[in-house]
Amino acid sequence: MYLYSEFDRTYVRNRVRMFRDQVDRRIDGSLSEEEFKPFRLMNGLYLQLHAYMLRVAIPYGTLDSRRLRQLAFIADRWDRGYGHFTTRQNIQFNWPRLKDVPDILDALADVDMHAIQTSGNCIRNVTADHFAGAAADELSDPRPVAELIRQWSTDHPEFTFLPRKFKIAVTGSPNDRAVTRAHDIGLRMVHSKEGQNGFEVIVGGGLGRTPVIGKVIREHLPEADLLPYLEAILHVYNAIGRRDNKYKARIKITVRETGIDAFRSRVEERFRIIRKEFLGADQQVIRRIRDTFAEPDYVQAPTAAFDDALRRDPAFRDFANGNVHRHKNPDYGIVSVSLKAHGRTPGDASSKQMRILADLAEAYGHDELRISHEQNVILPHVHRKDIPAVFAELSRGGLGTPNVGLASDIIACPGMDYCALATARSIPVARDIAVRLREIERDVGSLKIKISGCINACGHHHVGHIGILGLDRAGVENYQITLGGDATETAALGDRAGPGFPADELVPAIERLALTYLDIREDQDESFLETYRRTGLAPFQAALYPDAVPKGRGGHPERSNDAVS
């Protein structure tokens, strides 16, 4: 994985020192709270419902055992013994005290980590495919690109006070696991017809209260033009993005109001000028970065232990079928560790679990770990012979839940239990659904349920096969259901199913959807999403609202006029 240079180290230490000074000036009053706010945000410090929350970057989701152990140490020393992994490959600590934060940042710097730009109206922590560097279907490892963008965007003098936050995701695989179509900028590494490396550049995607699937602004951008092109996009956005209304300030609105073609020509015009300012050092830097992402030193050994365990142990079979994905080295597997044990908070890991994962990465995983936007932890390089032992260790630590990709592998935002913006609870809903669907989820197979506790959509509900949005209806929680969303390369926004459900009726309603799918699928190979695409909303609507008069068959109902707009 990436190795910090002396420059990186000095830089991060200096940022900690600056923030320590800003905290002092906030405390002595020479910075007002309003003035302090952007500086604490760009160092990852939020003010939440009960306390400060510190969001630490895990750039492109990559960790090793040393760093994960340090996160466990921070959780124990300054927080309540756990951390929460988020949909943007960050980890959040929910209970730090303001005066301790500079010390926490120093502890992060000790292991070449930081919380820079995990919040605020700047370019956020860059995310990437969580199987990067390991996936069998990968064209090229996206992490060196993400690291280059991290460096370029860090404390960029022009782009630290943007109209709104700005999120970039990169994938190097045709199967998009990084949700590139729902980011401010999505980058897909592609080869041109002539075989040249480059990017498909997608702009103006996003979820939130106005969900938009991003549009292609450049079909093939040569690799070497990446930074000037990004700079041109940001330049145009910073100049013309709206600042009169927070809810219209994201680039998706700028692109929509300007029109993609007009937006593109402005960008191209700026790009022609900016390109001349990049004199070649960036290409040298990315070569150095690439060298640090060397392939692991693969072990050559028989894989018989894996096949034996498959035959012998039905629990292992479930785990291997769901949680192990194809590695580019056929002797290896990518092991996903679910942080979604039935009835637990999705994405939470205790310090003890972090240490177990660190130990396993060290013993069996070439010392590499990944955090996924689906809030799970990944051991990207495990030799097949070792997977049974890994599974056994995980199970002992409460981490062996074989539900990756299934109904209980739910993305949920923190919701009203932590977040000041939330209008409904998310975590308890996720727990209850997971428990309720436990018996049938293997039969149901691939099903992405995503839950947001307010219209800001941190739980990505718009792109869930089943999306759930919690709202406040005159002081009572009410949950709206969308169906047919898709976060992958065939990205789509879900269709709203109809009126919302009160909390106590939601879980049975979700169960009815799953059972309906089992009834109407053509065969076991047709997934929930495929069935939905074939049948449309009607049969699912009938299951959700058994007492309602049918509106007609097969059509999508008009989007209701309340809420999501």
């Binding site: 420059f7 000095t10 830089y11 200096n14 020192r17 600056m18 000074d21 800003q22 000036r25 009053g29 020479s30 910075l31 003035e35 952007p38 500086f39 109206n121 280059l148 460096q151 370029w152 860090t154 404390d155 960029h156 003098p157 022009e158 782009f159 630290t160 006070f161 943007l162 930074l227 330049h235 910073n238 100049a239 600042r243 000028i273 900016i274 300012e277 990049f278 004199l279 070649g280 050092a281 960036d282 290409q283 040298q284 830097v285």
Partner: protein, 143 residues
């Protein structure tokens, strides 16, 4: 009287009230007197000023709020277009943003007396003197 922050510390404003208001006055940069000082809104694209570059000696870009970063982008673009005169940021900018302003092409920052009291010269000097090299510099130089 406003305070002007420079790399060497606070100086008195040598240009007070001399700035022509672009939105009211000029519009046609070719009509500007030689050596003009002009205040421009942060919503300009920059290109409109190019015909007047040889007449403009001093530009002042307004920051209505310290979180409105348009002025940074405009400054950078004016420098790219070849503006070589003095460039001043005025309005609500904080000491913590001084280095950013300089890196975007500003020469100086104008602050009011209230801010100058709360963030005295030493705070701005510290911000300037303790800066580290930037990633952008490393990425844009010659290979």
């Amino acid at each position: 009287m406003a305070t002007i922050v420079t790399d060497d510390g606070f100086i008195a404003d040598d240009r007070a009230n001399e700035f022509l208001d672009w939105t009211e006055a000029a519009q046609d940069p070719a009509d500007l007197p030689y050596g003009a000082a002009v205040e421009i809104p942060n919503s300009l694209s920059g290109e409109e000023l190019v015909p007047g570059f040889d007449r403009i000696a001093h530009l002042r870009i307004c920051f209505p709020s310290h979180v409105d970063g348009r002025g940074f982008t405009l400054a950078r673009h004016l420098r790219r277009l070849g503006y070589a005169g003095r460039l001043r940021a005025s309005g609500h900018l904080l000491a913590d943003q001084y280095v950013m302003a300089r890196r975007c092409g500003f020469d100086e920052v104008e602050i009011d007396d209230e801010l100058a009291r709360r963030q005295p010269e030493s705070v701005w000097q510290q911000s300037w003197q303790q800066q580290t090299a930037s990633y952008q510099f490393l990425l844009q130089r010659e290979a």
